[in-house]
């Protein structure tokens, strides 16, 4: 449904979106995560054809967002971040206007408006002026607008922002329901709500794609934890002698022990081989564990490495230093 290839968007010297590639299947619910300024909104604006990309390809349902922008816009429903609305219109008037603009035929226009008023729970404000609505209602009017033409793809920029916990639950339930036969891309910085809803997560940090995984695969992507005593470099050497080890991340674990987080190729469980290798090299071993990483772990890893980068290089971001400092790859 969405096909993005080497997408880059620069504003002057700032890379808002930086060489991002991913693929979203039909009827997938995708969560776009990232800190403020990570490039979520820019990426969504490119997908909705509002902004052009500086380079790269983005396609929605097979249509290029640059060259076939009208076809793309006929297939999306977009909820922008700040939900701009015309203050002088009434809710039902606004939805009717949007339905006409999006080409909903007059025979089922009233039905669609009725349906959207119902599922977005804004029926009781249908005759109110948009300018008098509170944030929670504006959010839901925006969602109703995105839904009105029953688009194949919904692009929602922080759809639960400004809602109270109860409304959040209801909105998420609605999105889950819609996700059965719509493709949905939503952005958020709330991990827990996203984790429960989406099939796939994309994590952006500073415009780069830090992670693009299905939620189901996330669990089957373990880290091996080893606590060993001995000089770090020597232990590392012992670890890297095991074939299949990809990277090792170390941090002190107390009592002179060092904790190594080890990632392996194809997520192989190499615990036995690792234990054998370390003991053979003559180091003490006290913990041998397999940790399934949650989304939160991934999030922390991605953003921690970003913080480290920031601490190391200041504001300047080096070109090819995505994995550095603590994480050393085998080839390095």
């Amino acid at each position: 449904m969405i096909h993005v290839e080497h997408l880059t968007k620069t504003f002057g010297v700032v890379h808002a979106v930086d060489d991002v590639s991913f693929e979203v299947d039909k009827n997938e619910v995708v969560g776009l995560l990232g800190n403020n300024g990570a490039g979520k909104t820019t990426l969504m604006r490119i997908l909705t054809t509002y902004l052009p990309a500086s380079s790269g390809i983005a396609k929605v349902d097979g249509f290029d967002v640059m060259t076939q922008s009208l076809e793309v816009r006929q297939r999306i429903g977009y909820l922008p971040e700040s939900i701009p609305l015309y203050p002088e219109m009434r809710v039902s008037e606004y939805l009717e206007y949007r339905a006409k603009l999006k080409g909903v035929h007059r025979h089922n226009r009233r039905l669609r408006i009725d349906y959207c008023l119902e599922v977005c729970r804004i029926r009781q404000v249908a005759r109110r002026l948009l300018g008098t609505l509170s944030k929670g209602y504006r959010q839901r009017v925006g969602l109703a607008d995105a839904l009105i033409a029953d688009p194949k793809l919904l692009i929602l920029d922080e759809p639960t922002d400004g809602l109270d916990p109860g409304q959040k639950q209801e909105t998420l339930a609605l999105l889950r329901e819609l996700g059965q036969n719509h493709t949905i891309m939503l952005s958020s910085h709330l991990l827990t709500e996203v984790e429960a809803l989406v099939n796939r997560v994309l994590i952006l940090r500073r415009g780069r794609l830090g992670l693009s995984r299905r939620i189901a695969d996330l669990e089957a992507d373990p880290v091996l934890l080893i606590e060993a005593k001995g000089p770090v470099e020597a232990v590392r050497k012992a670890i890297y002698t095991v074939p299949g080890v990809q990277s090792a991340y170390d941090r002190p674990a107390g009592d002179d022990y060092v904790l190594y987080e080890i990632r392996t190729e194809h997520d192989r469980d190499l615990r036995e081989a690792l234990a054998a290798s370390i003991i053979q090299a003559g180091f003490a071993l006290r913990r041998l564990d397999l940790k399934r990483r949650t989304l939160l772990d991934r999030w922390n890893e991605i953003n921690a490495s970003e913080d480290n980068l920031a601490a190391l290089y200041g504001a300047k971001r080096p070109a090819a230093a995505a994995d550095s400092q603590h994480v050393t790859t085998q080839s390095a």
């Binding site: 500086s54 922008p80 701009p84 206007y97 949007r98 007059r106 209602y137 409304q167 339930a173």
Partner: protein, 518 residues
């Protein structure tokens, strides 16, 4: 309760403590979605003062008309009455309390009834002599009607009243055109007024129901079809009957123009292509904000002042011809429109940019040129509408004792107004696209308008020399107006304003598209 999706299915899926709202219960939600109430203090205060003014002005008027002369004469009592009525309309537009909206419903119905009565009553001698009273009443009636339907939430009552006003529109149009086809004397002024009123009422009817409603949808297409049928009848009457020639020159031509307006209006109201949808939204946003009303009010006052000056220049029974020239090119309207154009155009794009609605608009399947054209035509129509009070007051010239005047310069002047107005509005639209500050756009447009107006004073060869003078004459819209007011349509004078309009519109589209240049 027919809730196809949410309530029953969410029950099973909600995991936390908040119970889902039972189907149909509307008010189970708490903060932060508390509804903010509209504040009504200002409209009510204005309404109270206005009611006082209406009573006072009305009393003074009645005493003047049916008693002896008073300290406050007819003119001043009319001014007070007009101010009061404007205040009441302001109140009616905001106050949704049942007692007030129902009261204004009654006011609307009374105005409609009395308006019809005054149109047909042959007092003091012939039919139509009371039109100067009937027209404002019918217009006020439709305005109060719009205020009422906007607030009414009893669907049956709303539907009934809407049908009453819609039927009134049909009646006006049928009588206006029907009788005028056979009696030339009827068309000016009664038939003409009736056909326009019919249009206004039909538009109000369709607009309040929106064309998703079947009655309104077929009504709007019917309006266009009706215009077409009448146009064919007028043509047939002009070409096929013995008196066709005089009929066409006397009233047929104007009737043809009105039917054209019927056709265009019907199509714009009925069709759902993106241009028509946007045009309707832009127009409604003009009339849902105070801008259009302020401009209309200002120009109505200017028209009235112009008229007063004009009447004082009539010696005896002879109106100076061409009437328009002395009536319009007084300083008042020229200076008035210096301000009107920026006021009408400044928010068009800058407001959408500032609030971000432009993003919502342009991510819908609609292209920039359509957006720009819709905004342009909406503003142009409003601009032309602002001039209507001038025309309406001209209808009163016979009433103040001057003989019938040559009305045809009005037509040529209208053409000139459309052409030069296109230039002004497109310039304003362009300025509005440049900035996301309304004030900035307004000031820029105002400067442009001042420059265009000042050029008029530099068309003299003595001032700018023989080479520059003819160029300046082409640019100066005042010269275009002056030619038009003698009743001539000179195409080459329209070349500059039209090219300027096209250029400004093109540049506006490019400014909107410029976000894509990186």
């Amino acid at each position: 309760m027919s809730s196809p999706l949410l309530p029953d299915k969410t029950d099973s899926k909600l995991t936390t403590t908040v119970p889902p709202a039972p189907a149909g219960s509307a008010s189970s939600e708490l903060a932060p979605s508390v509804l903010l109430e509209d504040t009504l203090e200002v409209p009510r205060a204005v309404g109270a003062i206005a009611a006082g003014l209406v009573l006072f002005g009305g009393m003074a008027l009645l005493l003047n008309l049916f008693g002896s002369a008073r300290m406050i004469d007819v003119g001043w009592s009319l001014v007070i009455l007009a101010l009061g009525m404007s205040g009441l309309l302001f109140h009616a537009a905001f106050d949704h309390e049942i007692q007030f909206r129902r009261l204004y419903m009654v006011v609307a119905l009374v105005l409609l009834g009395v308006g019809i009565l005054l149109t047909v009553v042959p007092y003091p001698k012939t039919m139509g002599q009371q039109l100067p009273w009937a027209i404002p009443m019918l217009l006020l009636g439709v305005l109060f009607f719009l205020c009422f339907t906007r607030h009414e939430d009893d669907p049956l009552l709303r539907d009934t009243i809407e049908r009453v006003f819609g039927a009134a529109g049909v009646l006006f149009a049928l009588v206006g055109f029907g009788v005028s086809l056979f009696s030339e004397a009827f068309f000016l002024p009664i038939g003409f007024v009736l056909t326009l009123m019919g249009l206004v009422y039909a538009v109000a009817f369709i607009a309040t129901r929106s064309n998703s409603d079947d009655v309104a949808y077929y009504g709007s297409l019917g309006l266009a079809a009706f215009g077409l049928v009448i146009a064919l009848l007028v043509l047939a009457r002009s070409l096929l009957t013995a008196t066709g020639g005089t009929f066409f020159v006397g009233s047929g031509f104007v009737m043809l123009l009105v039917t054209l307006i019927y056709m265009v209006t019907g199509l714009v109201m009925g069709l759902d292509n993106s241009f028509c949808v946007l045009l309707r939204r832009e127009l409604s946003s003009f009339f849902l904000s105070p801008m259009a009303y302020l401009s209309l009010f200002t120009f109505a006052v200017l028209a009235w002042l112009s008229f007063v000056f004009f009447v004082s220049s009539i010696y005896g029974n002879i109106a100076p011809e061409p009437v328009l020239r002395f009536y319009v090119i007084s300083y008042l309207p020229v200076f008035g429109q210096l301000f009107i154009v920026p006021v009408l155009t400044m928010r068009l794009l800058s407001e959408e940019k500032r609030t971000g609605t432009l993003e919502v608009l342009l991510t819908a399947p609609v292209d920039e040129p359509i957006v720009v054209l819709a905004k342009f035509f909406a503003a142009l129509l409003t601009y032309l509408l602002v001039w209507v009070p001038f025309g309406l007051i001209l209808l009163a010239i016979p009433a103040v004792g001057a003989p019938l005047f040559d009305y045809r310069p009005i037509l040529s002047f209208s053409v000139a107004l459309v052409v030069t107005g296109s230039m002004f509005i497109s310039m304003g639209l362009f300025c509005s696209s440049l900035s996301d500050s309304q004030i900035g756009a307004g000031v820029l447009t105002f400067i442009g308008m001042v420059l265009l107006t000042l050029i008029f004073f530099f068309t003299d060869e003595m001032v700018v020399g023989a080479t520059l003078a003819p160029i300046m004459k082409h640019i100066s819209f005042m010269d275009t107006w002056r030619t038009a007011m003698t009743g001539r349509v000179v195409l080459r004078e329209y070349l500059f304003p039209l090219s300027a309009a096209v250029l400004f519109l093109f540049m506006t589209v490019k400014v909107l598209e410029s976000r894509k240049w990186s």
